[in-house]
């Protein structure tokens, strides 16, 4: 498409979304829930249409030579569509964050001052993953009173278009309708569309890129619209002096191996020198038995060698090792002289996502939580628990490794801002 035509099209899309957001912002909860229920019905009714669009994407994907796992992620079958419909009903059941009072006080001059949650406005969500995200993100935005502009991967374009069409028609059909333009999918595979959208500072209020680090950096570097980012999950398990070594092993194994290709899986094991010789041989052997490669500091290597452990899965760490987010069955290991040194290591190499300490001492747990500047800091629990559903948020729009606005797992509330509302009877500034 010609560039100026694309630009005009994207501006028009964002303007329509903005107008829809104004309507959506004042809709009562029941109208939004009704729209979500209609959307769920719409998905079920339009199953054949969606599956046929998905077949088109799958066929194109095969032609392009997408890998088996990639094709699996792209596939949306009857069961998948039913699950999406169930997800919409679950979002219905979540409390509406809009209008929730955050604070209330009466000023000395009699002004009643309240801080109340309000929608952010227009959200641009850019993602690479499965077409499911189109439905999940649209539902969470709708429930929180925000219009959304969704840009999924180009390999899922036909599916995403169809899903959006079904959702838009369904939500606009209710008694107190949600404007169709509350849900928008960018209907071109042209990557220049993203660049145009990222320029629309006055029309789009927030960008949430979900995907690999390169996508997120591309977005952050090309927009002045506020962005909530999630760069990496270099999560740490720190085994403190005096730790229960069985508990430490259990937490390290669960953090590293329960699921490896996810951001809250641990990448690095830090061990206090006091327990290193007692802890590391068995922990390392168990990790390697489970197929986990280890990249260890020289001190760890010596301890393992002394214990007679050598293995082709055992490698020496290099200077860069501790920055790695493996997302795989690989773990960095390092011995540290103190809790403070563990915190220093995390400050230097970590990504401010999630860390855990295994310690019998509540005081040392508190100290670790105070020293470590990450979104989630646990005591005696697996890093894998850093998750919107595990936290009881009822939903997860992503995990923020930023510090502003939202930190850690983001639910519906994190898709809102607030307003200060003042009710007076003639209060003036004196």
């Amino acid at each position: 498409m010609e560039n100026s035509a694309l630009k005009t099209q994207m501006v028009e899309l964002a303007r329509e979304a903005r107008a829809a957001a104004r309507v959506l912002a004042t809709l009562p909860t029941e109208a939004k829930n009704s729209a979500l229920r209609h959307a769920a019905e719409g998905l079920i009714k339009s199953r054949a249409l969606i599956e046929s669009a998905n077949a088109t994407d799958l066929a194109r994907g095969k032609e392009k030579g997408l890998s088996g796992p990639m094709l699996d992620r792209l596939r949306l079958d009857t069961r998948g569509i039913e699950k999406l419909a169930e997800g919409l009903h679950q979002v219905c059941a979540l409390p509406d964050p809009v209008g929730k009072e955050l604070s209330r006080n009466v000023r000395p001059n009699g002004l009643l001052l309240r801080r109340v949650r309000a929608p952010i406005g227009v959200l641009l969500i850019i993602f690479e993953s499965r077409p499911n995200v189109t439905v999940e993100a649209a539902a969470l935005c709708l429930k929180s009173g925000n219009a959304c502009i969704l840009r999924g991967g180009s390999e899922a374009l036909a599916t995403n278009r169809t899903l959006a069409k079904v959702l838009r028609e369904a939500v606009a059909e209710t008694a107190q309708p949600v404007p169709a333009a509350a849900i928008n999918v960018v209907e071109t595979a042209d990557r220049a569309a993203i660049a145009e959208l990222l320029k629309l500072e006055g029309l789009i209020d927030l960008v949430i890129p979900r995907g690999g680090e390169s996508l997120i950096r591309m977005v952050a570097e090309n927009t002045r619209i506020p962005t909530i980012k999630h760069y990496k999950g270099v999560c740490h398990v720190y085994v403190d002096e005096g730790a229960d070594l069985n508990l430490a092993k259990t937490i390290a194994l669960n953090s590293k191996l329960q699921r490896v290709a996810v951001c809250n899986a641990a990448e690095t094991l830090l061990v206090h020198r006091q327990v290193a010789a007692a802890f590391l041989p068995e922990a390392a052997a168990t990790l390697m038995e489970k197929g986990c490669e280890l990249r260890v500091c020289p001190e760890t290597k010596a301890i393992l060698a002394a214990a007679g452990i050598s293995n082709k899965l055992l490698q020496e760490a290099t200077a860069e090792t501790y920055y790695n987010e493996y997302l795989d069955r690989i773990m960095s290991v390092k011995i540290v002289p103190s809790l403070e040194a563990a915190a220093d290591h995390i400050e230097q190499y970590g990504s401010r996502h999630t860390e855990t300490i295994v310690t019998p001492s509540p005081e040392r747990g508190r100290r670790f939580q105070a020293l470590v500047d990450s979104a989630c800091v646990f005591v005696n629990a697996s890093t894998r628990l850093s998750d919107g559903f595990e936290f009881g948020l009822g939903a997860e729009i992503g995990i923020s490794t930023d510090k502003l606005h939202a930190r850690g797992p983001m639910g519906l509330e994190e898709l809102t801002t607030y307003k200060w509302l003042g009710d007076g009877d003639g209060q003036l500034r004196t």
Copy 2:
């Protein structure tokens, strides 16, 4: 200064601030308060030194031909220094936001999950105004556990340097000292220093530019560090149908004229057509009596002409009129057919700062508050009340017209983020 030397110097400054922030983050409230009290004493003891530095700035300012009001803003005399010391004691008395629990719940697996306020880290505050801001901003950052890098106007450089020196020495002298590098003033007038600092995404967590729109745009356009902005205050007073016209006049006058060169002063008066003929002649006459120029829509002009009001302060509005932030004794006036039209006008021309409706109807007040997407939306109260002290925040670091992180007047809490802290006894992901 050579560019690479300047760069090195700024990186070093930010690194030191970051290290100081880590210490500051875990200091107990009493240590921070003790540092603030020492700082207050330090200012009083070093009065002569500060006044002499200020005399240098004033002499340079006169040479450069700064205006009388500019020189007044630059001046820091004995009384001014005493007031700064009093201000430090007031910050002492504010509650410490760090460690405050925002939420607490026990998950089904037994994990105690708490959301707790934490410092943001290193804040860069760029301002144009009086040297007082150096002391006020340093105190608010210190109390909220953040290290600060302050860059004031070049005309106040000698004063700001001296203030920073006094503060740094004082806070580092206490029993549990605050590192001197928690408070930093950029000690060069070279504007390139700002450009270098704005590049330090990994070292600086937040930028707060305080000043005119051009400063704020320059900052926002030259950094990827999150920025909290305050562009303009195009605030509206909307007089609804059925309004008490005396109340409406009082609120309009106070909003416009109580102090004109401030962001929460009203710039535009919107009047429902139903009350326009009864309200506008007297309101306009009173505004003009007080020296306020009016830029009015044709319908308003006709009503005033019919009432025999003509005045050289009366002008016709143009297409651009309603975007104006006058910061002066000038007001735009427009008649609207409905509350919804008033909200539409505010959406198009406003700056999302503060608006007020004068109405006898609580329902219409609520509707206006729901429709208008601004930081502060009042019913029957002056826009001038949109202020950190009036809101009882005890301090004001600025007013945000952004929607992310902080909106409206910002106090100490807005200088914090949060952490998720989880306390377990072996919880795993299953």
